[in-house]
């Protein structure tokens, strides 16, 4: 069964902006799905329609088979949503916020308190449960929104940039947490600007741009389509000019940094052998950009050119 199924979804705002131009998308139950796109591409509008915060102009959408036009209450009871913007009452405590949220989904208060303890502890917020939420750090506020979205144990969790502005340590622990939830059966749809995050977590991906899906594939298939990668090499000795390496595009960034584009047909052993032959010693190496970022930029640029 599909967790989310969308056909011909369109949205035109009152100011005439056409945010969605006929979206078709299916997300299978149990998937960890990335929905990527540049700012203003239509991601948040799509999520808004699915969660009923935005009214669609046309098309159909269903959650686990529940049509959002005819069975909205059932559809909404399956979804947990972590929005992009902080949207809880800053004057309430984390405990109150999550217990009340459970209540809005029909969870009796006694069960809600047990779940609140479980999720606030798992998201390292239990110590802050009785503090005013306004005083929480940015990362804690993000985690509180995740805890809140999980209180009714939804079958589909939608995360709209859940780690925006969160430091790398907390972000990685949130990745582990989300992986755990997904492994236990919750379907997750993730939008993020951290493409490393999508590449690390998600099995399937859709890229949306200009209100249209421009790519929909398995993450592994998409990454395989990358024909070349650019590596940044840190050199032990300074150079005055970029070495001539036939078959490679080489740029000298500064006297000890080389940028080399390596195509799929070539390999790094050959590159290092040729650099050694020229007496150039490589101290360290890294990807210039994340692989998914490379593909993403190419697809979006191609879309813009078209």
């Amino acid at each position: 069964m599909n967790a989310l199924s969308v056909q011909g979804l369109t949205k035109t705002y009152r100011n005439g902006v056409q945010a969605l131009k006929g979206i078709d998308l299916a997300v299978e139950e149990g998937d960890f799905f990335a929905l990527l796109g540049p700012n203003g591409a239509g991601k948040t509008t799509l999520i808004g329609i699915v969660t009923s915060l935005v009214r669609k102009t046309g098309g159909e959408a269903s959650i686990f088979g529940y049509d959002i036009d005819r069975q909205l209450e059932q559809a909404k009871s399956c979804i947990g949503v972590v929005p992009q913007e902080i949207n809880f009452n800053m004057f309430e405590t984390p405990l109150t916020i999550v217990v009340n949220q459970a209540g809005f989904y029909g969870i009796p208060r006694a069960i809600a308190r047990q779940r609140a303890e479980k999720y606030l502890k798992q998201l390292q917020l239990w110590e802050k449960r009785n503090h005013t939420s306004r005083g929480l750090s940015g990362g804690m506020k993000r985690r509180l929104m995740i805890a809140r979205a999980l209180m009714h144990e939804p079958r589909l969790l939608i995360l709209d940039e859940p780690t925006a502005g969160v430091d790398i340590e907390i972000r990685r622990s949130m990745w582990d947490f989300l992986r755990g939830i997904n492994q236990r059966g919750t379907t997750i749809i993730l939008t993020t600007h951290y493409l490393e995050e999508a590449e690390t977590l998600c099995r399937n991906i859709a890229i949306i741009d200009g209100g249209r899906i421009i790519e929909r594939d398995r993450m592994s298939n998409l990454l395989r389509r990358l024909h070349s990668e650019t590596f940044v090499l840190s050199l032990s000795q300074p150079l005055t000019a970029a070495p001539a390496l036939e078959g490679y595009s080489v740029k000298l960034i500064d006297e000890t940094t080389l940028e080399v584009e390596v195509s799929k047909q070539e390999n790094l052993n050959d590159l290092f052998a040729r650099l050694s032959a020229l007496g150039i010693e490589v101290h360290s190496l890294r990807n210039k950009v994340n692989r998914l970022e490379e593909i993403f930029m190419r697809l979006v640029e191609r879309g813009a050119a078209a």
Binding site: R55, N89, F91, T96, Y105, R109, F177
Partner: protein
Amino acid sequence: MSTMVEHSAAPPQSMAQIRRVGFQTIVIREFHRIVRIWSQTILPSGVTATLYFLIFGAVIGSRLGPMNGISYMTYIAPGLIMQAVILNSYNNVVSSFFGAKFGKHIEELLVSPLPSWIIVSGYVAGGLLRGAMVGLLVSIVTLFFTHLPVTHPVIVVAAAAMTSMTFALGGFLNAMFAKNFDQISVIPNFVLTPLIYLGGVFYSIAQLPAWAQHLSLVDPILYMVNAFRFGFLGVSDVPVVVAFTIMVIAILTLFSTAVLMLDRSSGIRE
């Protein structure tokens, strides 16, 4: 961060349970809000009522004769209680709902499976709760200044509850329309307060010239105050049946409009 997330084996909630627990949750949340900011929600009405009784009842009222055969202090008491009920029921809903809209936490309810009529009912119950709490406080203050008989207790409770619901619904609609904080203070200041003062809180309309009496009859608050006063003192300037009919019509009309507006999400959803 622990990854031990175990989904409970609890059965999914029925729609009836979601609605029942959801409604209770909104009411509990509103109650906590009223209590948390009691110095803004409860206390001012007690202070204002004390001042009214001191100035209009004791100082000025002592120079006035009885009204409809009842001492002036006792005559204005039901109106002052009703004034507090009206303003607090209205203000509770308008500030709570607009605050949720402004702070975006209204989205917590909008993404939930609760239907619009439950959301409206929950907020109205919150207004009713604050109206009852403040009405009780002002009634206690009243007893320090005058004896207040209760002639028809059922009418007292029904008139207070229905008036409170009417104005709680009015507050909800105001909050739906409002785009900024100025717009939630315009109606209480420039519509409700004049209507209350002209609605027979401080006098019987029988004392007005004929044209003013006719004009007063278009003020809906006149009917509510008089129905409430009838419950306490057994006197009214208008037929009580007409007063209750007006309240029923007002509640049904305002409730339908509020649910319809929330369904269409005017001013909330895009």
